[in-house]
């Protein structure tokens, strides 16, 4: 019973967003604090590497959160705050990488591949369709062989209802299935 309640407590913990922002750090102005949160979610903690600074308990993340709030209070725009961080920690600090020449492959690589694959599929489909539009009819020899292979059941060709071909042409292919 105890173990179960512990389990449930653990699950509840997991369900909560793991915010590391401490109450003492928060700004009094709710609008400014909201902006700080938005910026904090987009900045990478340079110690944990896969957490935003708002999610990280690291010392540096704490400093960065405080710096974000100081800049905002000093009247900086969001872009200016990001620029402030990039000047110190590089593009690396941005969880969303910027769009520039060095990151071109990162941004465009996947869509480009998707595009190429789509175009190729389109071409293939078109070719298949044109192929089915006008298949040359079977010639006489092919018809004979087919009749041998399919045996009696091969009789619903409307334009060949004469069923001219007998079962004497065994030498051309395999034995008919239901024969013998």
């Amino acid at each position: 019973m105890w173990a179960r309640s512990q389990c449930i407590a653990l699950l509840l913990l997991c369900a909560l967003p793991a915010l590391a922002v401490e109450p003492t750090e928060m700004l009094k102005d709710p609008a400014l604090e909201a902006r700080a949160r938005q910026i904090g979610q987009a900045l990478r903690c340079v110690v944990c590497q896969n957490q935003s600074i708002d999610d990280s308990q690291a010392e540096v993340a704490h400093d960065m959160r405080r710096a974000v709030r100081e800049r905002l209070q000093a009247g900086d725009s969001d872009d200016q705050v990001f620029a402030y961080m990039v000047a110190r920690y590089g593009d690396y600090v941005l969880l969303k990488p910027p769009f520039k020449a060095r990151t071109l492959v990162l941004w465009l690589g996947a869509p480009a591949l998707l595009l190429i694959a789509g175009v190729a599929l389109l071409f293939a489909a078109r070719r298949r369709r044109t192929a089915t539009v006008a298949p040359p009819p079977l010639n006489e020899e092919e018809r004979v062989r087919l009749s041998v292979i399919l045996g009696d059941q091969w009789d619903f060709h409307p334009e060949r209802s004469e069923g001219a071909c007998g079962k004497q042409e065994r030498s051309l292919g395999l034995r008919p299935r239901d024969d013998s």
Binding site: V46, V47, Q49, D63, M64, V86, A87, Y92
Partner: protein
Amino acid sequence: MSRRLLYLLPLLTLALMAGFFAWSLLIGRDPAAIGSVVVGRPAPPLNIPALQEGQAPLTDALFKSGKPVLVNFFASWCAPCLAEHPLFMRLKEREGAIVIGIAWKNKRDEALAWLKRLGNPFQTAGLDLEGKAGLDWGLSGVPETYAVDGNGIVRLHFRGPLIERDLTDSVIPFLKGNTP
């Protein structure tokens, strides 16, 4: 025949990707190394109180002496700082290096006691209790070491403790005026 080759295409793509990943794994690149944007730029501004009470604060003037300077962020609570400490003693005593220590998020008396217990490799030491100077330098934790050349440009950056190879390969050549 060309159909067959077409079937090989996914396999070929897979082999190409596997080769690329193996290559990036084996060239010895440290994926956790994130570099520093400070390298190659003028040293970030510095204005912090001296660790020893009553001494003049540490400012940018330290980088305008025309001599190369090492800046070491440390803390008495940091075990790797202890490990790299003998290297700084050697840099001071055998190589005549000017090392500036910055106690990061460290209480003044604890940092002073630590230096007294181990020996003091720093020509001058400052106190960055709030981690503000650390943020300006793009610090992610302690220990971290920057090498600033005589023109005040940051030339080297080491995240984590210095080891013997760092000394022989880059720090000592840097002090001798050979920027690697």
